[in-house]
Each structure stands twice: as C-alpha cells, then as structure tokens.
Amino acid sequence: MAVRPRYHIAVFLAPAVLVYTAVMIWPLFNTLRLSLYTQGAAGHVFAGLRNFQTLFGDPHWADAFWNALANNVWFFVIHMAVQNPIGIGLAAILSHPRLRFATFYRSAIFIPTILSFVIVGFAWKLILSPIWGIAPSMLDAVGLKSLYAPWLGKEDYALTTLALISVWQFVGIPMMLIYAALLAIPEGVLEAGEIDGITGWAAFWRIKLPLVLPSIGIISILTFVGNFNAFDLIYAAQGALAGPDFSTDILGTFLYRTFFGFQLQLGDPHMGAAIATAMFAIILTGVCLYLFLIQTRLRRYQF
C-alpha cells in the first residue's frame, strides 16, 4: 500500500499544541528566564542570580519569603490533618450500602466546593465578624462565649481560621474521590473478610483503608499543588496585604504583591518571576517526590 500523505495528523494536533505551547509552556519558561533579569533603563538587563540573592539574602525580602513559605506549609498541614480525615470519614459513612438519602447528603455537602473563593471568603468574614455577632451569639447559646475572638483579625488565629474555611469549602473533593474508591471495592473481598470475622471498624481499618490508599495519595498531591498556588481566598478575605501584619501571607499573595506592587512599593516583574520560580521549584519537588517515592510504593490492587 502506498503511503498516504498524513498531513491530517498535524492538522489534528496543531491547535492544541500551539495554544498549549504559546500560552502555557512558553510563558512558564519565559518566567523562569525573566527571573534572571532586572529592569534597566532600556528594558531587561541580564542579572544572573542577583534576584535570588536579594530574595534569600536581603533580610527584608528573605523575612517576607520565609514567612510566606512557613504560612503556606501550615496552610497545607491543616488541610492534610483536617480536610482529609473528615473527607474519608464522610465517605465511609456514605458508602454504607443501605444508607438512605445518600444522594441528598452527597450533593449538599459538595455545594461549598462549587462556590467561588470570593463568596466563601466574604460569607465567612461576615459570619465571624464581631459587628454582626452571629458567631459570638451562637457560641453564647451553647455557653461557650468566652471562646469567641475576632479570629480573622488576630495574628495568632487568622491563618488557621482561613485554612479551616478552605477545608470547609473543599472537603467535598476527598469525600467524593474516597467514596468512589470505596464503592469500587468488590463485595467479594469484604465477604471474604467477614468469613474471617473482620467486620465493622476492623473491616474499615484493615481492608477498606489500605485499598483506598492510592486515592488518598492522589488527593494529597492535588491538595499540595492547590495549596502552594492558592491566592484567591486570602485575597478575598484579607486583601493583598494578607493581614493582620502579613500573618496570612502565602506564596500566592506574596507573588501578587511583588509583581503588582502595593501602596508605596512599585511592582517588580523580575522579583515576581523569581518568586514564581521558587514556587515552581517547590511544586515540582513535591510532584516528583510523590511520583517517584510514594506512588511507586503504593500497591494498586487489580480486581
């Protein structure tokens, strides 16, 4: 058979490859490249690693960077420690075969996930606000009024409060993914356990949980990537200054402020690019650790 010309392959591939390359991959590399330049009188001037020297060496910049990074790590820790266990718990209850109204619960619990950060940030800001008084009066009703504080306004609590708001919003995702994984466990496996006397809690800990570990791994890496380029919630609730006194500043808000400037400081695309490069390195490291260390060790069971 004569070889037909195969231009159609190129035609099928061209639009996707072009858009993806031009708007995603090229700017990504260009951002990494820009981090090696500074603004000169006549445009970009090559500066080597000087931006990074400033970022990590200048006390003013280094403090801001490490503060944002530490806050970001804490943000992620809260998600892993609160969001995932609640999600797994809800999924375990939902996957009970004879539970009624499961569809209702599932749909209702997922609603916060579809709302924008702007809505979520402001809604919680209002509810927790001392002016409106919903949170204090509700705590008062159960006799815990002394526990109330204007959490979003206190340096010690603001970041944790925001992380918990984000957990509230996104708990639906681990719930759904674990729920799907639990439903995929064949009945036979559980029955075999029952014959060996493994039921109830024991069945959950010893059969179901090990079987859904790969899903938990995926959720963890999705949470990691999502948290380390988060921005919207903090910006909506606390503004670009991530107050009080930068206590809720994470890498995303730090990048935004540096890139666009705020108050008296002018925006600096090259320092912004340097921060973006650092974020890229962090995310890439996390994803690689997951792919090469964790995913290869998690055993996937084929039924």
């Binding site: 392959i9 035609v11 099928f12 996707a16 490859v17 858009v19 993806y20 031009a22 708007v23 995603m24 991959i25 700017p27 990504l28 260009n30 951002t31 820009l34 718990g89 809800l90 009970h96 109204f101 619960y105 749909s107 209702a108 997922f110 609603i111 916060p112 996930t113 709302l115 924008s116 950060f117 702007v118 402001f122 809604a123 919680w124 209002l126 509810i127 409106w132 919903i134 009066s137 708990v171 639906g172 759904m176 993914l177 799907a180 995929a184 995926i218 890496i221 990537v225 380029n229 921005f231 910006y235 909506a236 995303g252 890139f259 666009f260 695309p269 690019a273 973006a276 995310i283 890439l284």
Partner: protein, 279 residues
Amino acid sequence: MNRARSSRLNTVAAHAALLAWTAIALFPVFVILINSFKTRRAIFAEPLSLPSEASFSMVGYRTVMAQGDFLLYFQNSLIVTVGSLAFTLLFGAMAAFALSEYRFRGNMLLGLYLALGIMIPIRIGTVAILELMVQTGLVNTLFALILVYTAQGLPLAVFILSEFMRQVSDDLKNAGRIDGMSEYAIFVRLVLPLVRPAMATVAVFNMIPIWNDLWFPLILAPGEATKTLTLGSQVFIGQFVTDWNAVLSALSLAILPALVLYVLFSRQLIRGITSGAVK
C-alpha cells in the same frame, strides 16, 4: 446488645454525623441568602430568623442593580466560560484523536509533553503571560482569558479523551475508511458522537474553576467592560463594605448562578468524579 439494635444505633449515628456536616456546609449560604432579603435593622437584630413581613426588604438588591453592572459581569463570565470550554473540547478532542488513533514518531513524547500541564499550575507563568498579552494587545479582552483557560484545560482534556478514544472500535473506523470517508469525517461523524459522555465530564470539570477564578481576571482583564462575575462581585463588595444590605445581596447574586449550574450538572459532575475519570 443484640445485633439489630446495634445496627439501628449505627444508622442513627451515621445520619447524625451526615446531618451535622450538611448543616455546617449549608449554614453560611443559608444565612447570606435569608439576610439579603431583610432590612438593615433586622439583619443585625435577628440574623438567624427568616425574613418576615415586617423585616422584608429588597433595598440591597436595588443598590446592587443601580450601582454594579452585574448583568454585564454575568455575560462576561458566560462568554469566557463557554468560549474556553468550546475551545478546550474541540482542540482537546482533535489532539486526543491524533494521539490515540495514529502511530507516528514522537507520539509518546508529545503525549507526555501535553500531560505536563496536569500537575504544573499555569499561574506560575503569570508574569510572562501578562507580558505576552501586553505585546499582543490582548490585555483587557475576554479573548485573553479564553486563551489562558483553554491552555489550562487542554492537558487534562487530552488525557481523559484519549483514554476514551482508545476504546472506540477499530472496525467502525476502518469501515468508514473503506466507504471512502476522510479522516476528518471519521473524527467528526464516527468518533466524536461516541465520546460525548467523556466530553461532558471534561466540560463539567473545567467549568467550575473557570467560572470561579479570580487570579487571571484580576491580572489580565480588570477593566470595567471585561470584569467577570467573580471579579465584579469582589470589587463591588470591597467598595460597599459598610453597606450590609448591598454586600449580602451581591453575595447572593453571585451564589445563584453557581447553584443553578450545580443543580443542572450535578449528576454529570458526580458521575464524572465517581467513575474515576480523575486519576
């Protein structure tokens, strides 16, 4: 304790736990919605009660309608979301078809190249994206947003769609070829209709993040004419922060489209997630 009783207790505990979390999940939305229909006095006096005849007021909505251009914001969001989804699905399906159907040199490599973007967030490249949009004169156009969201959606779209296209029977496509159909006709008339469910899944996955995004509208299209609903409500609320009626009404108006979309597409969304389409 006998078995039947312990299982009933378990059921009660299960419902109690689920109801408790459902209440936590819906409470803020509920409070915002009911208070948006109240007078200022009632908002503060009885924040948790439903609007009554005495406390009912639409003053917040009137402020929003008079001051903010919410209809325009909504229209912008709609154009951006629908446009991005259309390009993502069309370009994604074409590329997925090429990768799954033909054997050519570099096929694997190109697949990997396109998959890179699943894990690397496009936001990292923002500095250079803005520069690109400035150079091409696309700043403050909806098209800039559509391009960015298309690029962002393509990796996962290609990945999911090529998995599904591999399952389309070869006999069907070869029958088409024997009948003299061009490769384009095979793609449009034989393959696309068969992967419609997968296309719907991709669309629903991409829809919510695009609709809700604040970062790119804020950076690429902050002009009054191109504000999306998310950015528009953010700016509006920031300006009217002391007018509680207006803020609550603006929040409710922003919640509404998301809720409607969710009611329309929740089955598709849940089926998509639970069928293990995200791996």
